[in-house]
Amino acid sequence: MKFFGKIWPRLFIAVAIVFFVAPLLSMARFAFQRIPVISLGKDNLLKRWTIDGLLTTLRDPEFTHSLSVSLKIAFFTVVVLLVLMVPTTLWVHLAAPRWRGVVETVTILPYVVPPIALVVGVSGTYRSIAPWFLASNYSLVPFYAILAMPFTFRSLDVGIKALDLRTLVDAAKSLGAPSLRVMWNVLLPNLRTSLINAAFLTVTVVLGEFTIASLLLKRTLPMYMAQAQGREPQGALGLGLLILVLTTILFTLVSIIRKRDATSISSKNINGGMVP
């Protein structure tokens, strides 16, 4: 019994690792070995590795253009989302806890409404009243803001719940801080981890979204990658792998920051009346 009790979790983890790592390794071999796919085998595992394909793609002006478009869209999406969601989430917690359920439901809408419906509905409206809006690359910002809303709301919600929000606000006000000051000097610094989290999640949504960009014919990074797969498959896959590795590193950094902040909050609660 004990033997099985130990072996199952390990077996499960091993299967999971194979499930996730095997495709990545295959992808790496395809992208970085200058050997026809049909001849890839275990005898040439270490032969003819090169990053030429990736370098060609990285040098492609189309790539730099689409990357810069995507990064700009990501930046503005983060700004729009935080400007909208930070005050809303704080308001829900401080003044209107009854509305929390409503706000939460609204933020889930992107899961319920398929992107195609969203685009057809919105673009139909704008095509007749403001066609210039759809012509701009930034027309993606509102769509992406809606897509990333669930992550942003949840991230902020969790961060706010960990604070004694009401007391912090009251304390700051009794010390002479007007509302904006309270927000800037007290709430935002204490929600730092949540804000970083929300921002990173939003960036990953923007860097990975394909459907809406394709429907609105925007040349974003995912669109470029999809097209490059036909022209320069090795380079496109190499790029995909590179983005994957970079995002993993980013998220590891975020979770390290989050853990550090969580430790300081929990030790605050444990300390109680004891002298450290």
């Binding site: 007391t167 912090l168 009251d170 007007p178 000051r181 007290v186 300081s264 009346g273 450290p276």
Partner: protein, 318 residues
């Protein structure tokens, strides 16, 4: 002129009247406790004074100025809360100087004042620490220093000792009393703990269901309770038959007697609780259901008394 005056302040939440015609004046430098069970309106009164709640009716005078309608951040009230309310992202020194920072005081002056205040609460060596690195008692003393750093008109304390353990609670309580005396800052202290209110206050305002039951010195409240509620809420009290009416009498004003056959009351001992200097003896009177209690000085107790013993009780000679 009073330092802080509530005049006919009323407040209700839906159908619940939290505060009805609340009227009290705090003199300059005075420490007044609002004492009562939870839901009696004491915290509401404090939060209205701080500007966190709006009154439905009445006025609040700070000196000669009516501050109803003035936003919280313009009232200059120092406040300390039940939960440790230090800003988690600032160190102790920056927490203490926060109020000065929002008032635009220069960095140097701010630092100096923060050091002075930390000195005042005897925590000057902890300025560089973060809030989570100090104990709960220390956090409340920092919160006091922070509230006092801006030289507030009035110090408002909302059950600041409730989250602390017994020993630290007494320390911080004495600290509050000392600061109130040394700085002469008018202080309003909300508590549900009668011992706390008794030991710290110049005057106590006993509240029940949004109404003031009695305002007076601790001695006055204890010895001459104005209402039955005050008598029962502050200290313990027995209700005993005398002639054709009931009288209220404190346990320490009764004496037990084993030999007086003409004692005013007689009953059987149901419980004996030793609480250090005093011993509490519960006695069930003949023809009565609820036991009464008698508080006796432990060293003066007749060692014959035991549970079940039939005993006489007299009023102590005043």
């Amino acid at each position: 002129m009073s330092a802080l005056e509530f005049a006919n302040v009323s407040k209700s939440f839906g159908d619940v009247n939290a505060l009805i015609d609340f009227t009290i004046a705090l003199e300059e430098g005075e420490l007044v406790s609002l004492l009562g069970p939870s839901g009696c309106g004491k915290t509401t009164a404090l939060r209205i004074a701080a500007g966190f709640e709006t009154a439905d009716a009445g006025s609040i005078l700070l000196g000669s100025r009516n501050i109803i309608g003035l936003p919280a951040h313009e009232r200059r009230m120092g406040m300390v809360f039940q939960s440790y309310s230090l800003f988690p992202h600032l160190n102790i020194r920056d927490n203490v100087s926060f109020g000065l920072r929002v008032r635009g005081v220069r960095n140097e002056a701010r630092k100096k004042r923060a050091e002075e205040m930390l000195d005042l609460v005897r925590l000057s060596d902890l300025g560089h620490r973060m809030p989570h690195q100090i104990s709960g008692g220390q956090q409340q003393r920092v919160a006091l220093a922070r509230a006092l750093a801006t030289e507030p008109h009035v110090l408002l304390l909302d059950e600041p000792l409730s989250a602390l353990d017994a020993k630290i609670r007494v320390e911080v309580r004495d600290e509050i009393r000392r600061l109130n005396r040394d700085l002469g800052v008018t202080t309003m202290f909300v508590t549900h703990d009668q011992d706390e209110a008794m030991s710290i206050s110049d005057r106590i305002c006993v509240m029940n269901s949004g109404v003031i039951e009695q305002v007076g010195s601790p001695r006055d409240i204890y010895n001459n309770p104005a209402t039955s509620f005050v008598a029962h809420f502050v200290g313990s009290i027995n209700s005993l038959p005398k002639g054709d009416k009931q009288i209220l009498i404190r346990p320490e004003n009764l004496v037990l007697t084993t030999h007086d056959q003409n004692a005013q009351w007689r009953g059987a001992i149901t419980d004996i609780t030793f609480v250090g200097a005093f011993t509490k003896i519960s006695v069930r009177l003949e023809n009565d259901d609820a036991p009464i209690s008698v508080l006796a000085i432990s060293t003066q107790i007749d060692h014959n008394i035991a549970i079940g013993l039939n005993i006489g009780i007299n009023e102590a000679a005043q």
